[in-house]
């Protein structure tokens, strides 16, 4: 059996001077509370505080990082127990699925998933032997046994993980019932929501018109009119704030923004509602709505996050059979300089506004994003995102962004995950990589070590709280 151990120096540069400095920096920030201002955990977990079922449904079924890799090597989603839309039978033997995963665990060598999973196995469940086909059953049983205990209930883990605050993400039409249930539990300030209005601003969605109608019902506004629609959004934003939200999130295909005259915006909205808008027009409408949302953020103080550049559901066969979020979203080239200009013309000089930009297109780090954030008071840069939420990705981010944007136009780490158990591991990777980067600057005499200590604290804790107003 292969030993599973997590080396205390993992992810630090091998070169001894840098490693020593990184160790010193890391020692001072490794135990800081976790700030998780953007993610996709299920608020029901914290509201109901029920035990999780089993290893497979906790680790594998919701983790598109994991099953996309298995799928890429010829293992069908049915074999992995992913539910089909048409109700056709899929594998339901969770032990068997876990075994398939164990048999293919070598596929994850060199990937962040491997690092996160090993951390969970070691730190959360106490394994000292590696996951292999031989140990699959032992793993499955031991994890399931642990999950059935008090110590592994969601709120217990929230404490054990030292999570000071975690934000979930809900659509504009969500009734926020789980967050409502948290009120008075003592957890309402630790588990907060985020306002994600994509469903009611993306007119490419089949149910856009009905979503807008529901928005009207929910808020008592006439959402068939442009003014009523905007007012309804304001009301929903307030409702989210009432459940702790300090931020909004916008997942658009591109970074396009627009600033249309009122009449044109009204006419465009009407076309979108009527379902007669062209693709260019729905894109324009999304762009207009980013600018509207920035305006509302200026009014109500919510931090605005823009996550553009994913070509969603690239694999039509998989989408038709299994639905969204099945590992088939693919990044696309993303342009920011022209696309953001209308919004920035209007609001970019507002020092009181906080807009956090993310990207899946790393070519924009040094070329577009760092120069933009290094000038406009309203802009900050979110951390390396999604496919780039990885040791190499984070290093590329710091190496390419820092010289032009500095550290203080960035906002700390986001785990952006629905894999709750991996949150400490993900933050730990970010902390280690930040310390490694700082250690390199110190070792090359580009930064003093006392400054690096202060920066390590800022990048781990203070900047996230400040950017998200936590």
């Amino acid at each position: 059996m292969t030993v599973l151990s997590l080396h205390p120096d993992r992810l630090f540069a091998a070169e001894p001077q840098q490693r020593d400095i990184a160790r010193r920096l890391y020692a001072e920030i490794k135990d800081l509370p976790i700030i998780s201002p953007h993610g996709h955990t299920d608020p029901r977990w914290f509201a109901d505080n029920q035990n999780w079922d089993n290893a497979t449904s906790l680790f594998l079924l919701p983790d598109h990082y994991v099953f996309r890799m298995l799928y890429s090597q010829g293992i069908s989603l049915e074999q992995l127990g992913i539910r089909r839309k048409d109700g056709s039978p899929v594998e339901t033997d969770y032990r068997k699925i876990f075994k398939i995963f164990a048999e293919n665990y070598h596929l994850f060598r060199g990937t962040p998933s491997r690092m996160w999973l090993d951390s969970v196995f070691h730190d959360v469940f106490g394994f000292k032997v590696a996951l292999t086909p031989d140990t699959a059953d032992q793993y499955y049983d031991q994890i399931n046994a642990a999950l059935a205990t008090e110590a592994y209930k969601p709120r217990a883990l929230l404490d054990r993980f030292n999570i000071e605050v975690i934000a979930t993400t809900e659509g504009a039409l969500n009734d926020l019932r789980h967050h409502a249930k948290l009120k008075g539990s003592g957890y309402e300030k630790r588990v907060i929501t985020t306002f994600r209005p994509d469903d009611v601003v993306d007119a490419d969605l089949a149910d856009f018109a009905s979503n807008v109608a529901k928005l009207g019902e929910l808020t008592g506004q006439d959402t068939q009119s442009w003014a009523g629609y905007l007012q309804a959004l304001r009301i929903r934003r307030a409702a989210f704030r009432d459940h702790g939200a300090t931020a909004t999130d916008h997942g658009h295909p591109t970074a396009k923004t627009a600033d249309l005259p009122l009449k044109e915006a009204e006419a465009l909205f009407a076309k979108c509602l009527a379902g007669t808008a062209s693709q260019d027009e729905t894109e324009l409408f999304r762009g207009q709505m980013l600018t509207e949302m920035a305006g509302m953020s200026l009014e109500d103080g919510m931090t605005m996050q823009i996550h553009p550049g994913a070509h969603r559901n690239h694999n039509q066969v998989i989408f038709d059979r299994f639905g969204a979020d099945k590992g088939a979203d693919i990044p696309s080239p993303t342009e920011y300089v022209s696309n953001l200009k209308p919004l920035l013309q209007k609001y970019g000089n507002e020092a009181g506004l906080k807009i956090i930009l993310f990207t899946l297109d790393e070519t924009t780090y040094a070329r577009e994003l760092a120069p933009l954030a290094g000038h406009y008071p309203a802009l900050k840069l979110g951390p390396a995102w999604w496919f780039h939420d990885s040791p190499e990705g984070m290093l590329r981010f710091r190496h390419q962004v820092t010289e032009t944007a500095g550290f203080y136009n960035t906002v700390g780490f986001n785990d952006d995950t629905r894999a709750f158990l991996s949150i400490p591991a993900r933050h730990d990777v970010a902390r280690r990589i930040d310390c490694r980067f700082l250690a390199q600057l110190v070792a090359e005499h580009r930064l003093n070590e006392d400054e690096a200590h202060q920066l390590a604290h800022d990048l781990t804790y203070r900047l996230a709280k400040q950017a998200y107003q936590l």
Copy 2:
């Protein structure tokens, strides 16, 4: 005279821990047989097994990496003995040309050509002094003397180089006479062909229609009809397989694919044949043909290679005077996500299909290619190609691809060369860089050393055999 020596640790990181690990990994794979599944050596060499002529015509005249650099510094192609289309006189004194090369050898400092050439000089010809103007004559004479011996005949070198299998590349209309001659020689399974149909699918070529007509003659099919044309391609693919081919290769300007209804495909083909197709239409036709070829690969099991993104013959003056492949092909930005979608919609979920993607646009590694290959069962990623077939290029490939695609969606190394003598050196560079990359992961505790040993073997040998079915 300057000493020529190849340091045993060359290309490994200088940092001692990483270097030690890299040495251990490299020691176990350095002597593995060479798998060369994609390249451009001349099959006549192996069929006829004649001695080569001289150093200049072997090293310089066919190597566009070499003369493009000399040309960029003001040395004319005529001075370098490159034949003109119009038959105007060019330098024919091969010793003099070799001398020019020696006088300008410093231009190659820091380039892979320098590394490959020094390896050939040292390992293949036994030089212990560096190539300089002073040693040019000695080099020229000693190389020519060696080339005249039995030990330097192509088949002898194939053995000495420990090449288990090497694939050449032939156009769809090639009569494969050299491969036919190899039958029964004992070499027919070591020297195989690859099916490259660009000449009969690229309607931008002046001789497209006549090529399609020849395709008809060669196969007895009516290639004026869409069905007959497709059937003729099937027949040629079978002929290539009969000469060992396990793969096809497609060198298109872009990665565009299409999946047209039958009637539209027929009409488009007719337009292309008639020479009335617009540039958009010939591009669409090439895109349609990629999808057709993927379909045929699914039928006949051939691995499909897509090599897009070269702007061929960018320098019209050079093309008019000297023809193609004169160092004037320049990479262009290449988009994969939208362009490949039609093909992937149709065949991307086929686990039995093997499509290997290459790129000259490194921005697509982390943004598009790794995410695509990390999801679609049919896709794998080819190694760093052409301008990126270099130590830095290979490192960028591994650093940018591995975290999302893993190692097992890649296919080992291709030398892609017509410079036969440099093949061991090129594979050695790839082996060293892979070991260096793995050593970094081990030294940073991101991978166990026993896993790294297994991966080094896979990347050097097993994955290439598997991907190309060798």
Copy 3:
């Protein structure tokens, strides 16, 4: 108080072997004279040789790197004393502005500005304590006192900085009075001008037609005709050469070039003059003018510099209030392969022509620029520019360019600055980074150390003199 010291090994890799080699390389080139062939210092300084006023107006007000960062964090340009177009009051207490700068000096951690400024403080003014809010007054007073002395007059610093030659940049309509004044001073060969005709070739400028009219007055040509306009440009180029110019510079939004038939060029020029040209047509005209300028360079031997890819004055509010060059220029994706083709078709094969390409889009280094410069005799690559004139930016340049273009298709360093006092620091960063890069190649046995010594000298001194004919 925090100590300010500059470590002798700063910017070298921490790994001891590489650091040792870098030290040896650097020791031999660190004291070479400075060649500054491209920059924006004010020629009046050297013509009049007056003392500078004070620290704020010397360091802060002209340095858009500095105030863009302060602005991005919510400090208004008015607070920083930047003059408004409308004459509204702004801060005029220079000591107070310097204090704001000191209070926010931590924002520059990890940026090249920090490194340049610390070098100036330490090496030029002799500070041994760091700039902090506590030391701001001391800094301000001590700098101002020094600036008032003989030793800190512009010409004295030119000597102290060991600047062999420095080029300023003047528009085509500039009367070159300061350079005229330098004639006979003994400085006329050390301070030379550069011909920058953007004002008379960019028909998007509001004053384009009047600029062209002035060009006519200045040269006695009828600049309403295409032929007269071109002749006037030839005359101005000669006038600039008479004031030392060996180069021209072209700052276009894109790299577009064109090669129109005479009639079309004439008609396009007429449209541009008449103010009836569309944006596509003004872009085409700029492209045509790049090709015309290349032709004139072939005639008169001036080196041609192309600096494309900045989206100028992205922030309209700032532009309207404060004008150009206020830190609001943002890089854009830039395409070279198709855009340069018309110019290269006409002149790319001229070995006597020197065209130096720059970029703000690093994705083009390995994909487009290195392949182009590694083929076309007329092309060379300028150093990492503007946002990329930084340790990381320079390393990316060398790592991505060298393998395809070699070292000898590059042209040494440009400081491109108006911050005169920082010139030694900027060249020192470039020298250190080049030595670091070379040291890595040596330590990894990719280059011999004697070759690295020769290259260090070439990159620091010889290549710049050669490329700019100094």
